[in-house]
Symmetry: C2
Subunit: 355 residues, 2 copies
């Protein structure tokens, strides 16, 4: 079949996309007119920028000589909408943060959508608008994209991949292998908010309306931290899946050190602590989407803490521990009753599809 | 629950991944030990390179001042394995080609995996090895990745997103809006091979063993073309989803021109033509994954053609048409019996999940 029989002069330019009551159809991913309409009338309109508007299969731009970082994340969170955000804002925050944790200012993102046949176009539009708003707020442009559609029952509404590149902030050199005994460990705020908000919603807990995800772009906070303490920053990590426990265990392994936390110093919201008790979760294992861990030289820790606390996203920042020598490379915690325990990674499944 | 009770000294470093009979489990995406084992023992081992081995959530590298391109593609092809390739090699070829169609040499790729619970790890290993081989062949490094797992019935084996960046080859300036009346249109080889091979396999057609996808990285061919005719190259596009018809219609719209094809000049394998007749397809609408369309200034067309024909991936290259003035911005074709028809985009669904 060629498209010839369907061609009617005058209708060639007609564009259709029923954002009110339409749904995603298989032909929205088939490479023809319906896909182009979806891209032009939804994605390109929301993400509007000169690089995307080149309308080629790739964006072209000039860069000066510089250190860059590149990263990617796919997002499969369920449900798609949750208190404090949705899969669209999360997909921007997640990749902007992975760039920021490389000590970099985010430049450009790409966005790849895998849509399930039958997804309401109104939901997709809401997600895309949320992505666009998050990108504007973070000062990053979505410059290239892709859309695929899978049959009903072969996906789950929408999955989003974002990849990104950024330029490393001058004077910053952070990496998971740079922690050394004596360094201090700080967190930018309360832990467990994202994972507990999503799990509470999923479990139908009645207090879930009080819980909100912390999903946010941390590049502004990192820029201020870099300006204050650039060369003294050793490690920057966002404790997402696996939480603070997995992230610090990974750093301990990479750097060949131990880490000692103080339980009393860990900022945890009372409602998150309560929900964790009900759900059988440890806040240390729960995902965050708007928090960072920083390991820095001891002599700048207090000043860095004060700097962070002056920022909206660092208001509840705290020094939570220090790097120690340990041939076993363990993460340990002094408990609130003065005991000492190993904080291991989780082995089993705990929080599926949290991001 | 903390992981403390599961900690046994001496077992801490034990790594387990049963690539022979194991399957993907939800905890392979949960951010804990199982995910790290999967990443270290499968992905990092296969994609091995210094940037990936930084083992941070982002890769860091230096670039000189230069023009760059960035692109992304998600891959949802069904079935995962097909004659001539699999979803892994396709995911590398597709993004390398999108970079090459920007006139660029591929530098770095990212890879995001969305795995369905229950996927045999042996299938995943085969796909990952195939990606690694395709990346080596194209001279591109996979420098950052991400793995998510969705429940059985919420995905379809594996979806892969690749994003990439490349450096624009000096002297090349290609874009879909640069076609001008008088320019020549060339294709690098036979059309429809990929789509017909996959559709035949899916339909269980008995001759499917004779049909192979053309999936391949075109960056080598583009490098040779750029060296020969750099500034005279106007448009480079790979006719994937939607085929030659959708691609050239898009270029006509972007450039504000018409395009006239010669049906007798279009290279089509006899077995592809036969399968298209059986399946009710037009080779012009069928996806290619190892072919490029180039629009160039008329005076270099013959020389460029000869250059392409000397390359393994350009052996069957042909001049298939020219750019004309047309206020209706139509793609037309002179048929083999001397008639003239409009070649429109497809409106309906034709080839779902072809890439």
């Amino acid at each position: 079949m060629s498209g010839q029989s369907e061609f009617l002069p005058g209708q060639r330019q007609a564009r259709r996309l029923d954002l009110h009551s339409g749904t995603v159809q298989m032909n929205h991913g088939a490479g023809g007119r319906a896909m182009t309409d979806l891209i032009d009338l939804l994605f390109r309109k929301a993400f509007d920028n000169p690089l995307l508007n080149q309308a080629n299969d790739q964006a072209r731009f000039h860069v000066p000589a510089q250190d860059m970082v590149m990263t990617t994340d796919s997002f499969v969170i369920s449900p798609l909408f949750f208190p404090g955000g949705d899969i669209g804002s999360l997909a921007v925050h997640g990749t902007v943060n992975d760039l920021a944790m490389g000590g970099a200012e985010a430049l450009y993102l790409t966005a790849g959508f895998i849509l399930e046949e039958g997804l309401p176009l109104a939901d997709l539009a809401r997600i895309v608008d949320s992505m666009a708003a998050a990108a504007r707020e973070a000062g990053v442009q979505i410059v290239s994209g892709d859309t695929k559609v899978v049959e009903r029952g072969k996906g789950d509404g929408v999955f989003i991949n974002t990849a990104g590149i950024g330029r490393v902030i001058a004077g910053v050199n952070v990496s998971g292998d740079r922690a050394r005994p004596g360094d201090k460990v700080l967190i930018s705020g309360t832990i467990g908010d994202h994972g507990v908000a999503v799990m509470s919603l999923r479990q139908g807990l009645s207090f879930s309306t009080q819980l909100r995800s912390d999903s946010a772009s941390l590049n502004g906070l990192v820029a201020v931290m870099a300006a204050r303490a650039g060369p003294s920053l050793k490690v920057l990590r966002d404790p997402t899946r696996g939480g603070v426990a997995a992230t610090l265990n990974e750093v301990a392994q990479q750097s060949g050190v131990g880490i000692q936390l103080q339980e009393t110093a860990l900022p945890v919201r009372p409602e998150v602590r309560g929900a964790c008790e009900l759900l059988g979760l440890d806040p240390l294992n729960v995902a965050n989407e708007g928090k960072l861990l920083v390991i820095c030289e001891a002599d700048v820790a207090d000043e860095l803490l004060a700097t962070m606390q002056q920022q909206p996203l660092g208001r509840d920042a705290a020094i939570i521990g220090e790097v120690i020598e340990d041939p076993l490379l363990l993460l340990r915690m002094t408990t609130h009753i003065g005991g000492d325990r190993v904080v291991d990674w989780l082995h089993g499944e705990q929080l599926p599809r949290i991001c």
